[in-house]
Symmetry: C2
């Protein structure tokens, strides 16, 4: 996994910015048909030169005075983000975090369809959250195969995450989105994206210290 | 903000790895007093050379044959992550995501103390989640000042996030951890860490495509 995570990490900031470009372009009305890199840079408070470089990588150069055709640019951005392909996903662990993810409206725009939630608690089995049915975790592997699930989202407690991960992979899942605070072992060919809250927090506290030092 | 986010983005992967080093070292029993970079690399499936480089940056070189003294290394790691300083935080928006964050056990280990939650729903005002009291959002700015809050965690809907952010900053907060899918405007001197689920998802789908291409 290390080799892949290095390859991906190079473009972490590029993905983050491109995701913002998509958000911004989709917030614009139909009356906006063309847009320049400079307009986007100003709206998002990015450097002009970064936006120019990103967009030329994603969609070629804008035309002088005309900029980019918005529709075309948005299409290229979605392709770059992998949103042009539909991915079937399931969520394992429907606690507060799992429920929050099931309620997140934005995933459909990202080509992600959440097909089912899985949990062990009898209280919520058979119920639906945001229109998604909650099923028993014992059916996990079978259901992944039946639905053709490509992405498994793990929101179970840390000590259960590796078992769930193994079951997902047995079910044919090739991408794991892991919210449990644990390092998962996966075979070659399976992609993992970890959401590490502690690491995120340390990036915030790190940049706070950095700002303080700059001020002193 | 752009300058700072560039400075921080360089070490995104370093922070993520260092957070894993902490997690791993803390999982070891007291009987482990010394540890080598190689042992850590093997346990976490990282490259030996990366771990060596990271640790020498954080804590100097390990001693030949002895490696690092675990206690000392952990202390230096926590200092690097900013966990040696205590930060007072509040969470604004106690829906599913806010509740999930309030229930997250790991923050205390990271030097983060969540002092209060804020919401507008009368159903939960005055109640407590994981021992943290939920207060009315109208008291936000006052409470930030009274508690000496340094970090504001935003888990409100996108359209309310900027207003909440402004109130937090009026209350003296210098770090914003933003989970709302929106780009916040903040004055110089305030750090922002955005959790962008759509961007995270695109990193996963991006690395899935990358893996597929490698296999073809």
């Amino acid at each position: 996994m290390e080799v892949i995570s290095i390859a991906v990490s190079i473009s972490v900031q590029l993905y983050a910015r491109t995701s913002k470009y998509r958000e911004y372009l989709e917030s614009l009305g139909d009356e906006v048909t063309n847009i320049s890199a400079t307009t986007i840079a100003n709206a998002l408070d990015y450097y002009d030169v970064s936006v120019r470089k990103d967009l030329s990588q994603i969609s070629g150069s804008g035309r002088p005075k005309m900029g980019y055709e918005k529709k075309e640019l948005l299409r290229d951005i979605k392709k770059f983000l992998g949103y042009d392909k539909q991915n079937s996903a399931i969520i394992v662990g429907v606690g507060h975090l799992g429920t929050a993810l099931l309620s997140y409206q934005n995933f459909a725009n990202c080509g992600l369809e959440i097909r089912a939630g899985f949990d062990v608690s009898p209280d919520i089995l058979g119920k639906s959250v945001n229109g998604v049915m909650i099923l028993d975790t014992s059916k996990l592997t079978d259901m992944c195969r039946r639905f053709g699930v490509t992405i498994g989202i793990i929101t179970v407690p840390a000590e259960k995450a590796q078992t769930v991960c193994n079951e997902l992979i047995s079910g044919g899942v090739s991408g794991i989105w892991n919210f449990a605070p644990v390092t998962l072992k996966v075979p070659a060919g399976v992609a993992v994206k970890n959401e590490d809250l502690a690491a995120s927090l340390s990036m915030l506290t790190g940049s706070m210290s950095l700002l303080k030092k700059t001020e002193e």
